[in-house]
Amino acid sequence: MKNPFEHLDKVLEHSVRLQIMSVLVANESYDFNSLKEILGLTDGSIASHIKALEKEKYISISKSFVGKKPNTRYKATERGRTVFKKHLDALEELIKQQKK
């Protein structure tokens, strides 16, 4: 990688979005409440970051019902996984270069 900065993703520079993507890349899918528990954030703040990730088509959303409760699940898309991987590689490369 000649210039790792070019591979850093603007959307993922935000730490909450990066954390959400980490969870979704490590798991096949994740529901809203479990995501909230693990991130320790409010509904509103998670929802806004989710929206940003969805707009970029990094994640997909599926809504269903468990009994009467709505159950919203999130999945990382292929595009999301690729971008995440590139971003992670760039981060590692930057650390390597700056440590020299």
Binding site: Y30, E37, I38
Partner: protein, 207 residues
């Protein structure tokens, strides 16, 4: 512009999120130790029922092939199982509370599904064998299916669970090779090993 420490922090948070989202970290080591004690108590009771006053390694006059004995043994096994699961839930619930997490999250659900499939298969398989008169395979089959269930579920919790799974499978296979010592292997696998691995997990993660 971000500094190198920021990138390192990013990477650390990625790793942390991946681990925490996949792994059920509320699993209590202490409940493993207690489950081991229940199993040893159950095994001792069965020993008194079948072997006493002879050594469990020696020759015996009673064999576990009369239906009353079988029902008695099954009852003991089910009591041990129910108490162990109950204790596991209770202690893990306490640990989850301490960690500020819920016991019923994505990781624990996945853990349950991965455990239940091999366990239910093994349980039904053993009951079918018992009903057809194959008593000798009960202990090895219990150990082997339990070991497979643990290995299957281990990706959603601590790595010790995986090693416990391998240990149970090895014990089960040896037990199958040496018929007549099922109770001993059962006591080692479900009693002693739960105490050992439970204690390791307790000192590593619960402190």
């Amino acid at each position: 512009m971000k500094e190198v420490q920021d990138y390192e922090k990013d990477i650390a948070s990625i790793r942390n999120m991946m681990e925490r989202s996949v792994k059920f970290i509320s699993l209590s080591g202490l409940s493993g130790v207690i489950a081991g004690l229940y199993a040893l108590a159950g095994a001792s009771y069965v020993y008194y029922l079948i072997y006493y006053p002879y050594s469990p390694f020696g020759f015996r006059f009673y064999y576990a092939n009369q239906s009353e004995v079988i029902i008695h043994l099954l009852t003991v096994a089910i009591i041990v199982l129910v108490l162990s699961i109950g204790t596991g839930f209770w202690f893990s619930h306490r640990k989850a509370k301490k960690l500020g997490m819920s016991i019923w999250n994505r990781a624990s659900q996945q853990l349950m599904i991965d455990l239940i499939i091999p366990l239910a298969t093994g349980g039904l398989f053993i009951l079918i064998l018992l009903s057809r008169g194959y008593y000798g395979v009960t202990a090895p089959a219990c150990l082997i299916f339990y070991g497979l269930a643990l290995i299957n579920a281990s990706r959603n919790t601590y790595s010790e669970v995986r090693y416990l799974g391998f240990t149970e499978i090895i014990l089960g296979l040896i037990s199958a090779l040496i018929p007549g010592y099922g109770l001993i292997f059962w006591a080692i696998g479900f009693g002693a090993m739960h105490i050992v691995y439970g204690a390791v997990m307790h000192f590593r993660y619960d402190k």
